[in-house]
Subunit: 334 residues, 2 copies
Amino acid sequence: MEKIAILGAGSWGTALAISLANNHHPNVIWCRNKAQAEEMQNHRTNQKYLKDVTLPETITVTNDLQDAIKDAKYIVLAVVSQSIREITEKIKNDISSDAILINVAKGLELETNLRMSQVVGEIVSNPFVALYGPSHAEEVSKGMPTLIVSASDNEAAAKQVQDIFFSPSLRVYTNQDLIGVELGGALKNIIALANGIAAGLGYGDNCRAALLTRGLAEISRLGVELGGKPHTFLGLTGIGDLVVTCNSEHSRNRRAGFALGQGKKLDVVLEEMGMVVEGVYTTKAAVELARTLGVQMPISEQIYDVLFNDADVNQAVGMLMSRDKKGEEEYFWQ
Amino acid sequence: MEKIAILGAGSWGTALAISLANNHHPNVIWCRNKAQAEEMQNHRTNQKYLKDVTLPETITVTNDLQDAIKDAKYIVLAVVSQSIREITEKIKNDISSDAILINVAKGLELETNLRMSQVVGEIVSNPFVALYGPSHAEEVSKGMPTLIVSASDNEAAAKQVQDIFFSPSLRVYTNQDLIGVELGGALKNIIALANGIAAGLGYGDNCRAALLTRGLAEISRLGVELGGKPHTFLGLTGIGDLVVTCNSEHSRNRRAGFALGQGKKLDVVLEEMGMVVEGVYTTKAAVELARTLGVQMPISEQIYDVLFNDADVNQAVGMLMSRDKKGEEEYFWQ
């Protein structure tokens, strides 16, 4: 049986490992933190990131990266997006040239504004698959019905990844629009921030539905300009992931937005959360790209000003509500 | 000032009357129930349908339909969709020929499968506007930010309706795709039922996000086949209204679905709810239309079988999850 390695022992990496094991694919998880690796290997739990699960015996957990990737046919990159470059650098000399890299981190790289496949592609030339979609790790680890997407411009690789993960509770669809899938997964976090801000300001479902609708329109506009296909933004990795993120209390981006909406400043919010909020990086990258390309992104621009120019959140929402009377088509698709 | 009449004193009719009054447009509400009309006129409350509001003094409430519509320039039809024909018949001889009819009921007529504008158009030839979008009445009545759509193939009428309702908290966009707007508003209730069923079965956010995504794809397919524009289903009356309905505990359709998901039978559910569940009619109409036109609507077909063929809800969801391995594009847009 072909070896599968999962790099990263957060909630999503762990849930995918469990799914694979339940699907009769033994696998090895690499965990950066030694104490956590020992807990997972010896006690079969992951208390910090995924409570209430028992790791099947066919999962091995190690703190040794080279050991984890040795002879692996499939390597799942399950670290945060800003660490994808670092981890790829670390493994580049020790992976087989036909190993399929499966990335699950959603985001754009800070400074370069690159998609994850571009970051990885600068370092190695292995087949690359993005495994994205609306998927809370907790639900997947419990076998609750979930639909995700295996996206690659290498169709054979996308199908191989579909095959190993596909199960009655985890349905995997292939998609060849890697650009659209990666951009949908990254850009949705901006709208999750906006949604959180609206909730933090005390606004209701009507306002948040409107933000989600208009938000999808503007991230699609940018995504299509950057080479994604319009339909992709209407699929699982577009609307689907956007809906799950905007409605989840678990989403870091939404929670960070909520705190901002309550009037807290960004540095305080980030310190209190103590973890990475991808949407903050992504807002910066997206607005820079949009300005360069001349794409209108009114919601993202307001979020940018709240995050980086100390703009007042009330005024930001006010700006969005006070534009001229318009036709809907003119407004959404300009 | 031009007279505005609102026919129907449910939560949405009342919220719109309050919005108009706050926008310096006095108006008259016709209330079918005499006791409720007297409560609203004398005590300035609407305990049954919209708690916690005080009706502005510039709203008059009457039980006399002819009195309400006499010389009205704008007439808002705020009764349930299956009563639109009856109310239009009742007023047809007493309205001025240039009165603008503003319909807010979302649904298709049972037996005929007609949209509301078609029902009204069989009786009178007045300008017709659909005022649709993601809008809980409670939030609108409190002045919480809301975006809605004034849709008509009569552009001047759509703009006049935009003008009377437009305010800092209630933004109104015009849209000339009346067919797409009406179909989005009606068909979304099928997906709300499906979403409720999934929740009632104990499924989580992942499953419901997937249902919403695939549901939007299939109602758009039917909607476009029936003459709506694709973009309309991505706007406020499409995605926006779908999201608000699927996530709201207040949605009757979602609540009815939830009870079905818990294993109750349709007749029991409808009796317990004691009110109209538009999505039940709409599922029947949509599936009949889809079969005639050869449009694939796998989710709607399963809901139809649950509602009308006594199908088991678990099996229905199982059917949706057990289809073959596919590409996403093939699946969503076939």
